[in-house]
């Protein structure tokens, strides 16, 4: 009756024991790797910035996260006097909840008994739903702190999440449309087909198809925004909001927020890999096909090597590698791009990502229904129409109008100046 339980049982045809094992593996790996990620971020960031970074605790500073954890654990837990106590305590827990539940549908290998935890029918929507819950922890933390910077951080996170959730949803819609399934395992499985349906020795990773590339890039951008990472880290902008939503948090509560952020990043890297990068396949080559060819060419050692590379034992490693690559990408972004301004954030989300994603969605639909020829024809017509409209509109627009800069909250002095000049 309870479908999440039945789904757990159904995908292995097995008992609750297997389910607990699956949960245990994922939890163990995530909890074990998150400190490592923090170390990796600090080292890599230092490298980008021409510094050394933590290198004292243990070999290469590897034990630094543990030292950090111990420090945070034993720090004084300050609760400011004017916070909303209940929500202030709940917020970190609420922030951690989606960071871990999102792992439930992520497949990290071909063995259905071990992964994913629940191969539910609505896996892709599940990701969207859970990631949309992620903002509540930040939001409540910001509100309950009773601090204007925190409140602003919470507000920003809410606005950002709602704006980027849409583009992410439409980008995922393209994948759903192309695969005809909401199941993540099915999405991964379909990427093992021949590339574009014609190249038998390669795999059809969605990132390699034209529509998949667009959807993938949009998903990549929105997933950075959803996890509130640079350059979309407006909710916790240190320079303007003094860390925003977690200004008032200290000790373990702060650590929990921190952990939630990294777990979510890690999960999203995995989801991106599963949706666009062929899941647990190391490179977009059709390993069985190649192994078959190697056998035909009488090279049994190559064949067995190829089958091993594409086989179930190595699969989790490739998956982990891709997730690790995703995290590195996150860090790289942080080191490279400056933080967006609020209006830039909104412009990017609403005026670029969402329309492009929607157009891409239409493209996939036309391609699926009528094939590539019709698609290019339709695109050409659309393009001509667009050019015509743009020309028409731009000809009408008076040349001397300069767009007015509008502030959401104009500073008081501006208004005063206007009054003075008028009188």
């Amino acid at each position: 009756m309870l479908s999440f339980l039945s789904a757990v049982e159904a995908n292995s045809g097995d008992t609750i024991g297997w389910a607990l094992l699956r949960i245990g593996i994922v939890l163990g790996v995530v909890l074990g790797i998150v400190p490592g990620l923090i170390w990796w971020e600090r080292r890599l960031l230092s490298w980008f910035q021409d510094r050394i970074g933590p290198n004292r605790v243990g070999p290469f500073g590897l034990l630094q996260p543990i030292a950090d954890g111990v420090k945070l654990f034993f720090k004084e837990d300050i609760t400011p006097a004017t916070v909303d106590r209940l929500l202030y305590f709940l917020a970190p827990a609420i922030a951690l909840f989606p960071a871990f539940t999102i792992w439930a549908v992520l497949p990290w290998g071909p063995d259905r008994r071990l992964t994913p935890i629940a191969d539910v029918d609505v896996g892709v929507l599940y990701i969207l739903a859970i990631s949309s819950l992620g903002v509540y922890g930040l939001f409540l933390g910001g509100w309950a702190s009773n601090n204007k910077y925190s409140l602003l951080g919470g507000l920003r996170s809410a606005a950002q999440m709602v704006s980027y959730e849409l583009a992410m949803g439409v980008a995922l819609g393209c994948v759903i449309l192309a695969t005809g399934s909401l199941r993540l395992t099915e999405v991964v499985q379909q990427q093992f087909e021949p590339l574009w349906g014609t190249v038998p020795w390669m795999q059809n990773w969605f990132i390699l198809t034209p529509w998949g590339f667009v959807a993938g890039v949009i998903f990549l951008i929105t997933m950075v925004a959803e996890t509130n990472r640079a350059p979309f880290d407006l909710p916790e902008a240190e320079s303007e909001l003094i860390s925003g939503f977690h200004t008032e948090y200290s000790s373990m509560k702060f650590a929990v927020f921190f952990m939630g952020e990294y777990a979510t990043m890690f999960a999203f890297s995995g989801i991106f890999a599963a949706l666009f990068l062929g899941g647990w396949s190391p490179l977009p080559f059709n390993w069985e096909f190649l192994a078959q060819r190697a056998t035909d060419a009488n090279l049994p050692w190559l064949a067995s090597a190829l089958s091993f590379v594409g086989g179930p034992i190595a699969a989790p490693l490739w998956m982990l590698g891709k997730m690790f690559g995703g995290i590195t990408f996150y860090i790289w972004l942080r080191a490279t791009l400056p933080r967006l301004r609020y209006d830039q954030l909104m412009t990017l989300g609403w005026k670029y990502l969402l329309p492009i994603a929607a157009l891409n969605f239409v493209v996939v639909a036309i391609w699926m229904q009528f094939g590539w020829a019709a698609l290019f024809g339709a695109l050409a017509v659309l393009f001509l129409l667009y050019i015509n409209v743009v020309l028409y509109v731009s000809r009408r627009r008076p040349k001397d109008t300069v767009p007015k800069v509008q502030f959401a909250n104009p500073p008081a002095s501006t208004e005063a100046t206007i009054e003075v000049t008028r009188s």
């Binding site: 999440f4 609505v122 969207l128 999440m161």
Partner: protein, 169 residues
């Protein structure tokens, strides 16, 4: 009591309590949060009946987006606990209690009866009801008219909200 019944009872109690919280909470944020909990647990009730798509849409649309906008508005306007919501007139308050009570009695008297005979007359939904495939089927076959009208409704809403925002100049 089976596991199913137990799960249902737990969720039902949480649902009712959170619905109660929406009404009685003094601060708008608490009120909205109760609604969030309510929507979230409601989704699990759907899951319990295998309405996967319905449940996940409930979380995605209501808990994730709509309630987020609610909270956003509350915070943006920085709403405190309103004093004006208290109704001083005893007559009006008792009238409200009376009407509310009658409605509760009317609905519960109708629901409890069938519930008591649950095991004998379990209402059964068709196979696959509330799951992605069947919802898609009915949206694009029998209910395509309603589906299109809903899109008209959204179009009107978009144009309207742009008009409301645009008039400010």
């Amino acid at each position: 009591m089976t596991l199913t019944t137990f799960a249902f009872l737990v969720m039902a109690v949480v649902l009712v309590l959170s619905a109660w919280g929406v009404v009685v909470a003094k601060s708008p944020v608490r009120s909205a949060l109760s609604l969030v909990v309510n929507f979230f647990v409601l989704a699990f009730l759907y899951f319990g009946m295998n309405y996967d798509l319905l449940g996940i849409s409930q979380i995605l649309v209501y808990t994730g987006l709509i309630m987020m906008l609610f909270l956003f508005c509350i915070l943006l306007l920085n709403l405190g606990a309103p004093d004006t919501l208290f109704e001083p007139s005893l007559i009006k308050r008792s009238l409200a209690w009376f009407v509310g009570g009658v409605l509760v009695l009317a609905v519960s008297s109708q629901v409890i009866g069938p519930m008591a005979t649950w095991s004998t007359s379990t209402p059964t939904a068709p196979e696959g009801f509330g799951q992605a495939a069947s919802v898609g089927q009915s949206l694009f076959t029998g209910w395509v008219y309603g589906f299109e009208i809903a899109s008209v409704l959204l179009l009107v809403g978009i144009v309207g909200s742009i008009l409301v925002a645009k008039r400010r100049d």
